[in-house]
Amino acid sequence: MKKKIMASLLTVAMTASMLVGCGGSNNGKEAAGGAAAPSGDTQEASQAGDKNEPTDTGSEAASGDAVTIKLFSNLPDRKNGQGLVEQMIIDEYMAANTNVTIEVEALDEEAYKTKFKAYAMDGMPDVVSIWGQPSFLDEVLDAGVLAELNEDDYIDYGFIAGSLDGFKKDGKLYGLPRNTDIMLFYYNQKMFEDNGWKVPTTYDELLTLGENIKAAGITPIAMDGGDGWPMACFLTDIMVKVAGTSYADIISNAVATGDFTAPEIQEATQILVNFADAGMFQVGYDSQDYGTTMNLFTNGQAAMYCMGSWDCSMALNEDIAPEIRDNIRAFTMPVVDGGKGGANDIAAWNGGGYAVSANSAVQAEAIKFLNYMYQPDKLSKYGWENGVGMSAQDQTPYLTGNETDLQKQVMDIMKNASSISGTPINDCGPSAFKTAIESEIQGVSNGSTSVDDFLAAIGAACE
């Protein structure tokens, strides 16, 4: 009898432990679903494959019914820059629509893209960050995970001409652009003045400037080479000066054929190699990450910093010492001798943006929120007020006169541009091409791969 009882007990214990094991994920989901994000806190809200919306959040939710919208964002810093702007709009929307709860899950770019794919296989959050570039969007649109938007709804939203193009496929619109990104050289104006350095107008002057800065014991340019993509944007910048307005055609042709031997691409790559070889970047640039690189500049250890216009918010970032923060200015890549690109042909594009999931259970509400974000007095206005570079919409109504000098400069650069490049080279092909070029560019710039091998390797990745 005793043994039988023990046998039964053991069996029960075993079954119970298994049930607990199975039940764990349910508990987790409930906990995740129940934890709303009322404030600006970044939060790992949902799990992959979590489609368990509370029953009262169906797509037919009448106004007044509780609705939970899940926002998956690539902006983990919710206290500064773009992330702050996004959070401000979310808070406002929730205050205006008390029945709506918006849960934010934010990861930085690489982690974001990885998890995006996991979500794509198993059920997307309702509103997601996307990039209107072939390297990201092609596969995503092929998989049909994004909801189609009605382009006519956005006629009055003031989108800059052509800025929606990257977010379309077969004439249908699947997302909206958030920024206009410009590739810039940020520099420390005070450091330049103190040393008698001048903003270069030609590539040769840039080289001479770099030599002078080095002679003063300072790193000329802080470059995030560890990530690969900033250097690819830099290469784009050079290529625009070499090839001028034919940049986009040359690259799309190269991506289509896998043949990157066009003389313009060769010349631009060679300039990059010579530039790195001349010691214009910090020692070890090819293994340093975004934060470390930016710190070199914001700590005053580097005189210039090569990055996109989204980092204009440095001028308002209180974590940066005022003597540096207030002196940050910017210029664009100077002209290359013999190149077809003029001073006002710039490397700029409409990259990041938002889209709504095709399978969202609250799609109508999600699109409503998306449209709210893009009301001209939201993303554009708040973005401008918080110094987050340029939006993809007309910002002129929101000029306050209190803009930072850096903002004004960037605005002028955009205003004076005679042509903009469009998508940077690394984002022009499939994601396998992007992965290849972002790795190979480290090898070619540090001299361990020849220019020819580099071009052959990135060509092979296009197949």
Binding site: M14, D142, G225, G226, S287, N446, S448
Partner: protein
């Protein structure tokens, strides 16, 4: 109790969870990997069967070759550098006795307790050419230049040092436990016979540690093959794949390059290599035992 264990229901209920875990968490994913390895699946949308294409491409992929070479280097580093030092340190610890023994055992084990993320960032800062500890120490000794510890040429060695340092505690602890299990009478007998420390070490400690060494070496080789987290956080395989390891490369191809099918092909080859390595090691050790 004996009857209890001959009850088939009991046996079944005890074994079932293990079998289920194996089936669904190990076997099923491997089978799926084999299937996806033959497809052009991007991770989204539909998968199309493409035969052996992924495998043909893999055998011509220099980055994959590089990652296997790096795994081999790491395994050699573990076996030739980490483990000899670990055995000697374990033997010395054993001789220390008293408080010092516990204190040093703790100190050597500390790196294993710290999370991999912290370790990776710690070393990232140590290696930084501008403000890193290493270059500052060199500067204190009067060296003027800035050494790029994570350059294309140096990076793999810098990464190996971190991995060897980080895994040292485990190896040492297992050897230490092995040494503790050796009958002290043998040492007493040896000292009566007038054997010195080295003589005792080579004639008693090492031979009796054979099974422990076998386990440790097998584990070292498997962990060298599986290496991912530290490399991902420290260099992410860069610059230009010079510190690439198979697991990290698999991750990059599957999840960054949207080549899920290719990633699975890497996974399958990787599993085969791991199994081959384990079988080879077992064979080598068995032959030695029989000899």
């Amino acid at each position: 109790m004996k009857k209890l264990y001959s009850n088939k229901l009991i046996i079944f209920s005890l074994v079932l969870p293990g079998i289920l875990v194996f089936l669904f968490a190990v076997l099923a994913p491997i089978c799926l990997s084999v299937y996806y390895g033959f497809t052009d699946y991007t991770g989204m949308g539909e998968a199309h069967l493409i035969g052996w294409d992924n495998y043909v491409k893999l055998f011509h992929d220099s980055a994959f070759g590089r990652s296997l070479k790096n795994s081999l280097l790491l395994a050699v580093g573990f076996i030739c550098i980490q483990h000899p030092i670990a055995i000697v340190v374990a033997a010395v610890l054993d001789k220390l006795q008293g408080k010092a023994e516990g204190v040093f055992r703790c100190i050597y084990f500390i790196p294993n307790v710290i999370s991999v993320a912290v370790i990776a960032y710690l070393w990232k800062f140590v290696y930084n050419p501008d403000f890193g500890l290493l270059n500052n120490v060199l500067a204190a000794f009067g060296y003027q230049g800035k050494i790029n510890w994570l350059s294309q040429q140096n990076a793999i060695w810098s990464v190996l040092i971190v991995l060897i340092w980080h895994g040292f505690g485990w190896g040492m602890l297992i050897y230490y436990t092995g040494i503790k299990n050796i009958d002290p009478v043998l040492y007493e007998a040896a000292s009566i016979d007038g054997a010195g420390w080295w003589k005792t070490f080579f004639s008693i400690t090492l031979p009796l540690m054979k099974p422990v060494i076998q386990i440790n070496v097998t584990m070292a080789i498997i962990s060298a093959l599986k290496q991912m987290e530290t490399v991902y956080l420290l260099t992410n395989g860069g610059p230009n794949n010079s510190t690439q390891f198979a697991a990290n490369y698999l991750y990059q191809q599957a999840f960054k390059a949207f080549k899920y099918g290719y990633g699975n092909a890497i996974g399958v080859v990787f599993i085969i290599i791991c199994i081959l390595a384990t079988v080879a090691l077992n064979t080598i050790f068995r032959e030695k035992q029989e000899a």
